[in-house]
Symmetry: C2
Amino acid sequence: MTITASEIQFIQTWGILSSQWGINRTMAQIHALLLMEKGNLSTDEIMEKLNISRGNANMNIRDLMIWGLVQKVHIAGERMEFYKAEKDIHKVAVAIARERIKRELEPVIISLKELKGFTFKEDEESSHYLKLLNDIDEFATMVHKIMTIFVQSDKNWFYKKVLNYFK
Amino acid sequence: MTITASEIQFIQTWGILSSQWGINRTMAQIHALLLMEKGNLSTDEIMEKLNISRGNANMNIRDLMIWGLVQKVHIAGERMEFYKAEKDIHKVAVAIARERIKRELEPVIISLKELKGFTFKEDEESSHYLKLLNDIDEFATMVHKIMTIFVQSDKNWFYKKVLNYFK
DNA sequence: TTGAATTTTCAATATTTACTGAAAGTTAAA
DNA sequence: TTTAACTTTCAGTAAATATTGAAAATTCAA
Protein backbone atom coordinates (compact mmCIF):
# COMPACT_ATOMS: atom_id res chain seq x y z
CA MET A 1 0.00 0.00 0.00
CA THR A 2 1.23 3.40 -0.96
CA ILE A 3 -0.31 6.33 0.88
CA THR A 4 -1.81 8.79 -1.57
CA ALA A 5 -2.21 12.52 -0.98
CA SER A 6 -5.92 11.96 -0.49
CA GLU A 7 -5.27 9.32 2.16
CA ILE A 8 -2.82 11.60 3.97
CA GLN A 9 -5.52 14.24 4.02
CA PHE A 10 -8.04 11.71 5.32
CA ILE A 11 -5.70 10.75 8.18
CA GLN A 12 -5.18 14.41 9.02
CA THR A 13 -8.88 15.27 8.81
CA TRP A 14 -9.77 12.41 11.12
CA GLY A 15 -6.99 13.45 13.50
CA ILE A 16 -8.09 17.08 13.67
CA LEU A 17 -11.74 16.14 14.14
CA SER A 18 -10.93 13.78 16.98
CA SER A 19 -8.69 16.18 18.82
CA GLN A 20 -11.60 18.63 18.99
CA TRP A 21 -13.53 15.96 20.85
CA GLY A 22 -10.98 14.95 23.44
CA ILE A 23 -9.38 12.03 21.60
CA ASN A 24 -5.68 12.36 20.97
CA ARG A 25 -4.36 12.91 17.49
CA THR A 26 -2.20 9.79 17.24
CA MET A 27 -5.01 7.50 18.37
CA ALA A 28 -7.24 9.00 15.71
CA GLN A 29 -4.56 8.75 13.05
CA ILE A 30 -3.91 5.08 13.77
CA HIS A 31 -7.65 4.54 13.60
CA ALA A 32 -7.86 6.36 10.26
CA LEU A 33 -4.98 4.29 8.89
CA LEU A 34 -6.59 1.01 9.93
CA LEU A 35 -9.98 2.08 8.58
CA MET A 36 -8.47 2.70 5.16
CA GLU A 37 -6.52 -0.53 5.14
CA LYS A 38 -8.43 -3.53 3.82
CA GLY A 39 -5.97 -5.97 5.37
CA ASN A 40 -4.23 -6.01 8.73
CA LEU A 41 -1.27 -3.95 9.89
CA SER A 42 1.54 -4.76 12.32
CA THR A 43 2.85 -2.34 14.93
CA ASP A 44 5.97 -1.85 12.79
CA GLU A 45 3.95 -0.88 9.74
CA ILE A 46 1.90 1.61 11.78
CA MET A 47 5.09 3.09 13.28
CA GLU A 48 6.60 3.49 9.87
CA LYS A 49 3.56 4.97 8.12
CA LEU A 50 2.83 7.51 10.85
CA ASN A 51 6.41 8.15 11.95
CA ILE A 52 5.79 7.38 15.59
CA SER A 53 7.65 5.41 18.26
CA ARG A 54 6.91 1.86 19.32
CA GLY A 55 5.67 2.92 22.75
CA ASN A 56 3.32 5.50 21.31
CA ALA A 57 1.95 3.05 18.77
CA ASN A 58 1.48 0.36 21.38
CA MET A 59 -0.36 2.58 23.88
CA ASN A 60 -2.71 4.06 21.33
CA ILE A 61 -3.50 0.70 19.77
CA ARG A 62 -4.36 -0.55 23.24
CA ASP A 63 -6.74 2.39 23.76
CA LEU A 64 -8.37 1.74 20.40
CA MET A 65 -8.93 -1.85 21.49
CA ILE A 66 -10.44 -0.70 24.81
CA TRP A 67 -12.83 1.50 22.86
CA GLY A 68 -13.77 -1.53 20.76
CA LEU A 69 -12.62 0.08 17.52
CA VAL A 70 -9.66 -2.16 16.77
CA GLN A 71 -9.01 -5.88 17.18
CA LYS A 72 -5.93 -8.05 17.33
CA VAL A 73 -5.56 -10.56 14.52
CA HIS A 74 -3.42 -13.68 14.88
CA ILE A 75 -2.04 -14.88 11.61
CA ALA A 76 -1.14 -18.57 11.44
CA GLY A 77 2.60 -19.11 11.30
CA GLU A 78 3.32 -15.45 12.09
CA ARG A 79 4.91 -14.49 15.36
CA MET A 80 3.96 -10.84 15.10
CA GLU A 81 0.55 -9.45 16.06
CA PHE A 82 -1.59 -7.68 13.48
CA TYR A 83 -4.44 -5.26 13.94
CA LYS A 84 -7.61 -4.46 12.06
CA ALA A 85 -10.29 -1.81 12.52
CA GLU A 86 -14.03 -2.38 12.66
CA LYS A 87 -15.09 -1.23 9.18
CA ASP A 88 -18.85 -0.85 9.67
CA ILE A 89 -19.14 2.89 10.36
CA HIS A 90 -22.45 2.47 12.14
CA LYS A 91 -20.81 -0.01 14.52
CA VAL A 92 -17.90 2.40 14.98
CA ALA A 93 -20.30 5.21 15.87
CA VAL A 94 -22.19 2.94 18.27
CA ALA A 95 -18.97 1.90 20.01
CA ILE A 96 -17.91 5.54 20.43
CA ALA A 97 -21.37 6.57 21.62
CA ARG A 98 -21.41 3.70 24.13
CA GLU A 99 -18.06 4.76 25.61
CA ARG A 100 -18.96 8.43 25.82
CA ILE A 101 -22.29 7.70 27.49
CA LYS A 102 -20.48 5.59 30.08
CA ARG A 103 -17.44 7.82 30.60
CA GLU A 104 -18.95 11.29 30.40
CA LEU A 105 -22.71 11.51 30.34
CA GLU A 106 -23.57 9.08 33.14
CA PRO A 107 -21.06 10.45 35.68
CA VAL A 108 -22.42 13.95 35.06
CA ILE A 109 -26.02 12.84 35.51
CA ILE A 110 -25.06 11.11 38.77
CA SER A 111 -23.21 14.21 39.91
CA LEU A 112 -26.20 16.46 39.12
CA LYS A 113 -28.57 14.26 41.11
CA GLU A 114 -26.12 14.35 44.00
CA LEU A 115 -25.92 18.15 43.84
CA LYS A 116 -29.72 18.36 43.76
CA GLY A 117 -29.82 16.27 46.92
CA PHE A 118 -27.60 18.79 48.72
CA THR A 119 -29.69 21.80 47.86
CA PHE A 120 -32.97 22.93 49.40
CA LYS A 121 -35.33 25.72 48.47
CA GLU A 122 -34.44 27.74 51.55
CA ASP A 123 -34.13 31.09 49.84
CA GLU A 124 -34.41 32.70 46.46
CA GLU A 125 -30.75 32.13 45.63
CA SER A 126 -31.00 28.39 46.32
CA SER A 127 -34.20 28.08 44.37
CA HIS A 128 -32.54 29.69 41.34
CA TYR A 129 -29.63 27.26 41.68
CA LEU A 130 -31.99 24.31 42.06
CA LYS A 131 -33.81 25.30 38.87
CA LEU A 132 -30.46 25.41 37.07
CA LEU A 133 -29.59 21.92 38.29
CA ASN A 134 -33.00 20.62 37.25
CA ASP A 135 -32.78 22.17 33.80
CA ILE A 136 -29.32 20.76 33.15
CA ASP A 137 -30.44 17.38 34.44
CA GLU A 138 -33.46 17.45 32.13
CA PHE A 139 -31.26 18.27 29.15
CA ALA A 140 -28.59 15.67 30.01
CA THR A 141 -31.30 13.04 30.45
CA MET A 142 -32.72 13.86 27.03
CA VAL A 143 -29.31 13.55 25.37
CA HIS A 144 -28.83 10.26 27.22
CA LYS A 145 -32.17 9.09 25.86
CA ILE A 146 -31.32 9.94 22.23
CA MET A 147 -27.91 8.32 22.47
CA THR A 148 -29.31 5.20 24.08
CA ILE A 149 -31.93 4.90 21.33
CA PHE A 150 -29.16 5.30 18.75
CA VAL A 151 -26.98 2.68 20.43
CA GLN A 152 -29.78 0.16 20.86
CA SER A 153 -31.89 0.57 17.77
CA ASP A 154 -31.51 -0.83 14.31
CA LYS A 155 -29.43 1.34 12.02
CA ASN A 156 -32.01 1.57 9.24
CA TRP A 157 -34.88 2.44 11.60
CA PHE A 158 -32.88 5.23 13.21
CA TYR A 159 -31.59 6.76 9.96
CA LYS A 160 -35.05 6.62 8.40
CA LYS A 161 -36.62 8.37 11.41
CA VAL A 162 -34.06 11.13 11.26
CA LEU A 163 -34.39 11.57 7.51
CA ASN A 164 -38.16 11.81 7.98
CA TYR A 165 -37.74 14.48 10.67
CA PHE A 166 -38.79 12.16 13.51
CA LYS A 167 -42.18 11.86 11.79
CA MET B 1 -22.86 35.60 47.52
CA THR B 2 -20.91 32.98 49.40
CA ILE B 3 -19.83 29.95 47.43
CA THR B 4 -21.09 26.77 49.07
CA ALA B 5 -19.45 23.34 48.84
CA SER B 6 -22.19 22.29 46.47
CA GLU B 7 -21.52 25.24 44.20
CA ILE B 8 -17.80 24.53 44.19
CA GLN B 9 -18.62 20.99 43.12
CA PHE B 10 -20.92 22.31 40.40
CA ILE B 11 -18.16 24.55 39.03
CA GLN B 12 -15.73 21.64 39.05
CA THR B 13 -18.20 19.20 37.45
CA TRP B 14 -18.96 21.66 34.67
CA GLY B 15 -15.23 22.27 34.19
CA ILE B 16 -14.36 18.59 33.96
CA LEU B 17 -17.23 17.87 31.58
CA SER B 18 -16.23 20.68 29.27
CA SER B 19 -12.57 19.78 29.15
CA GLN B 20 -13.55 16.34 27.85
CA TRP B 21 -15.20 18.10 24.95
CA GLY B 22 -12.42 20.43 23.92
CA ILE B 23 -13.48 23.51 25.88
CA ASN B 24 -10.92 24.77 28.34
CA ARG B 25 -11.46 24.41 32.06
CA THR B 26 -11.36 28.09 32.97
CA MET B 27 -13.87 29.05 30.29
CA ALA B 28 -16.23 26.40 31.61
CA GLN B 29 -15.71 27.46 35.22
CA ILE B 30 -16.48 31.10 34.47
CA HIS B 31 -19.56 29.91 32.64
CA ALA B 32 -20.63 27.79 35.62
CA LEU B 33 -20.09 30.70 37.99
CA LEU B 34 -22.20 33.04 35.87
CA LEU B 35 -24.92 30.43 35.43
CA MET B 36 -25.26 30.10 39.20
CA GLU B 37 -25.25 33.83 39.79
CA LYS B 38 -28.64 35.49 39.56
CA GLY B 39 -27.12 38.95 39.18
CA ASN B 40 -24.14 40.17 37.18
CA LEU B 41 -20.44 39.79 37.95
CA SER B 42 -17.49 42.04 37.20
CA THR B 43 -14.13 40.80 35.96
CA ASP B 44 -12.69 41.47 39.41
CA GLU B 45 -15.31 39.32 41.12
CA ILE B 46 -14.70 36.49 38.65
CA MET B 47 -10.93 36.76 39.16
CA GLU B 48 -11.37 36.64 42.91
CA LYS B 49 -13.85 33.77 43.05
CA LEU B 50 -11.89 31.53 40.66
CA ASN B 51 -8.40 32.69 41.63
CA ILE B 52 -7.34 33.55 38.11
CA SER B 53 -5.48 36.45 36.54
CA ARG B 54 -7.05 39.41 34.78
CA GLY B 55 -5.76 38.36 31.37
CA ASN B 56 -7.09 34.86 31.72
CA ALA B 57 -10.49 36.11 32.89
CA ASN B 58 -10.69 38.62 30.06
CA MET B 59 -9.81 36.18 27.31
CA ASN B 60 -12.19 33.50 28.49
CA ILE B 61 -15.06 35.94 29.00
CA ARG B 62 -14.49 37.10 25.44
CA ASP B 63 -14.69 33.52 24.16
CA LEU B 64 -17.90 32.95 26.12
CA MET B 65 -19.36 36.03 24.45
CA ILE B 66 -18.27 34.79 21.01
CA TRP B 67 -20.07 31.53 21.75
CA GLY B 68 -23.16 33.54 22.68
CA LEU B 69 -23.25 32.18 26.22
CA VAL B 70 -22.42 35.39 28.07
CA GLN B 71 -23.35 39.04 27.57
CA LYS B 72 -21.98 42.34 28.74
CA VAL B 73 -24.22 44.35 31.01
CA HIS B 74 -23.83 48.10 31.38
CA ILE B 75 -24.94 49.37 34.71
CA ALA B 76 -25.98 53.03 34.80
CA GLY B 77 -23.48 55.15 36.68
CA GLU B 78 -20.93 52.30 36.89
CA ARG B 79 -17.68 52.56 35.00
CA MET B 80 -16.88 48.87 35.21
CA GLU B 81 -18.37 46.24 32.90
CA PHE B 82 -20.50 43.42 34.26
CA TYR B 83 -21.33 40.07 32.74
CA LYS B 84 -24.28 37.72 32.85
CA ALA B 85 -24.87 34.25 31.42
CA GLU B 86 -27.83 33.15 29.35
CA LYS B 87 -29.87 31.21 31.92
CA ASP B 88 -32.25 29.30 29.66
CA ILE B 89 -30.49 25.93 29.39
CA HIS B 90 -32.23 25.10 26.13
CA LYS B 91 -30.88 28.32 24.62
CA VAL B 92 -27.44 27.50 26.03
CA ALA B 93 -27.53 24.06 24.40
CA VAL B 94 -28.71 25.57 21.11
CA ALA B 95 -25.88 28.12 21.14
CA ILE B 96 -23.30 25.40 21.78
CA ALA B 97 -24.81 23.13 19.13
CA ARG B 98 -24.82 25.98 16.62
CA GLU B 99 -21.11 26.70 17.19
CA ARG B 100 -20.08 23.06 17.02
CA ILE B 101 -22.02 22.48 13.81
CA LYS B 102 -20.28 25.46 12.25
CA ARG B 103 -16.79 24.89 13.64
CA GLU B 104 -16.49 21.12 13.48
CA LEU B 105 -19.20 19.26 11.66
CA GLU B 106 -19.49 21.41 8.53
CA PRO B 107 -15.74 21.61 7.80
CA VAL B 108 -15.53 17.82 8.08
CA ILE B 109 -18.46 17.28 5.74
CA ILE B 110 -16.87 19.66 3.23
CA SER B 111 -13.54 17.87 3.58
CA LEU B 112 -15.17 14.46 3.04
CA LYS B 113 -16.90 15.63 -0.14
CA GLU B 114 -13.57 16.99 -1.36
CA LEU B 115 -11.85 13.67 -0.64
CA LYS B 116 -14.61 11.82 -2.47
CA GLY B 117 -14.01 14.04 -5.48
CA PHE B 118 -10.34 13.00 -5.58
CA THR B 119 -10.99 9.30 -5.53
CA PHE B 120 -12.16 7.06 -8.34
CA LYS B 121 -13.17 3.42 -8.38
CA GLU B 122 -10.06 2.41 -10.30
CA ASP B 123 -9.21 -0.66 -8.28
CA GLU B 124 -10.44 -2.66 -5.34
CA GLU B 125 -8.39 -0.64 -2.85
CA SER B 126 -9.87 2.65 -4.03
CA SER B 127 -13.37 1.26 -4.03
CA HIS B 128 -12.98 0.19 -0.40
CA TYR B 129 -11.70 3.65 0.48
CA LEU B 130 -14.55 5.30 -1.41
CA LYS B 131 -17.09 3.22 0.49
CA LEU B 132 -15.47 4.34 3.75
CA LEU B 133 -15.73 7.98 2.72
CA ASN B 134 -19.36 7.52 1.71
CA ASP B 135 -20.26 5.80 4.97
CA ILE B 136 -18.64 8.49 7.09
CA ASP B 137 -20.30 11.17 5.00
CA GLU B 138 -23.68 9.49 5.45
CA PHE B 139 -23.18 9.35 9.22
CA ALA B 140 -21.91 12.92 9.51
CA THR B 141 -24.84 14.13 7.42
CA MET B 142 -27.29 12.37 9.72
CA VAL B 143 -25.72 13.93 12.81
CA HIS B 144 -25.86 17.29 11.05
CA LYS B 145 -29.54 16.71 10.36
CA ILE B 146 -30.40 15.86 14.00
CA MET B 147 -28.46 18.82 15.32
CA THR B 148 -30.04 21.18 12.83
CA ILE B 149 -33.51 19.98 13.81
CA PHE B 150 -32.59 20.50 17.46
CA VAL B 151 -31.28 23.99 16.80
CA GLN B 152 -34.23 25.07 14.68
CA SER B 153 -37.19 23.39 16.29
CA ASP B 154 -39.29 24.37 19.24
CA LYS B 155 -37.97 23.06 22.54
CA ASN B 156 -41.20 21.39 23.60
CA TRP B 157 -41.76 19.66 20.28
CA PHE B 158 -38.23 18.23 20.27
CA TYR B 159 -38.25 17.03 23.88
CA LYS B 160 -41.67 15.44 23.43
CA LYS B 161 -40.55 13.58 20.29
CA VAL B 162 -37.52 12.20 22.06
CA LEU B 163 -39.47 11.18 25.14
CA ASN B 164 -41.91 9.40 22.83
CA TYR B 165 -39.07 7.56 21.10
CA PHE B 166 -39.38 9.56 17.88
CA LYS B 167 -42.91 8.23 17.59
C1' DT C 1 -8.37 67.23 26.26
C1' DT C 2 -6.68 65.29 30.12
C1' DG C 3 -5.83 61.47 33.01
C1' DA C 4 -7.51 58.00 36.04
C1' DA C 5 -10.20 53.88 35.64
C1' DT C 6 -10.77 50.03 33.13
C1' DT C 7 -10.05 46.64 29.41
C1' DT C 8 -7.18 44.29 26.15
C1' DT C 9 -3.09 42.24 24.39
C1' DC C 10 0.79 39.29 24.29
C1' DA C 11 5.63 37.73 25.45
C1' DA C 12 7.26 35.02 29.03
C1' DT C 13 6.30 31.19 31.89
C1' DA C 14 3.88 27.41 34.02
C1' DT C 15 1.14 23.46 33.45
C1' DT C 16 -0.67 19.71 31.14
C1' DT C 17 -0.51 16.26 27.80
C1' DA C 18 1.75 13.35 24.48
C1' DC C 19 5.81 10.86 22.87
C1' DT C 20 10.21 8.52 22.92
C1' DG C 21 13.30 4.83 23.52
C1' DA C 22 15.42 1.65 26.14
C1' DA C 23 14.75 -1.78 29.67
C1' DA C 24 11.74 -5.24 31.50
C1' DG C 25 8.39 -8.57 30.49
C1' DT C 26 6.22 -12.14 27.69
C1' DT C 27 5.74 -15.65 24.28
C1' DA C 28 6.53 -19.65 21.58
C1' DA C 29 9.63 -22.23 18.38
C1' DA C 30 13.46 -25.10 18.74
C1' DT D 1 14.54 -24.89 29.29
C1' DT D 2 16.67 -21.70 26.37
C1' DT D 3 16.64 -17.79 23.53
C1' DA D 4 15.36 -14.80 20.01
C1' DA D 5 11.27 -12.40 18.52
C1' DC D 6 8.12 -9.55 19.92
C1' DT D 7 5.19 -6.62 23.26
C1' DT D 8 4.58 -3.67 27.13
C1' DT D 9 5.83 -0.29 30.46
C1' DC D 10 7.32 4.01 32.13
C1' DA D 11 10.82 7.63 33.51
C1' DG D 12 12.54 11.29 31.05
C1' DT D 13 11.73 14.63 27.54
C1' DA D 14 9.33 17.15 24.04
C1' DA D 15 5.36 19.52 22.42
C1' DA D 16 1.11 21.71 23.02
C1' DT D 17 -1.87 24.44 25.74
C1' DA D 18 -3.19 27.57 29.33
C1' DT D 19 -2.02 31.32 32.46
C1' DT D 20 0.19 35.29 34.23
C1' DG D 21 1.19 40.05 34.72
C1' DA D 22 2.65 44.13 33.12
C1' DA D 23 2.48 47.33 29.28
C1' DA D 24 -0.43 49.32 25.73
C1' DA D 25 -4.86 50.69 24.37
C1' DT D 26 -9.30 52.39 25.32
C1' DT D 27 -12.94 54.77 27.66
C1' DC D 28 -15.31 58.36 29.89
C1' DA D 29 -16.02 61.77 33.76
C1' DA D 30 -14.45 66.07 34.81
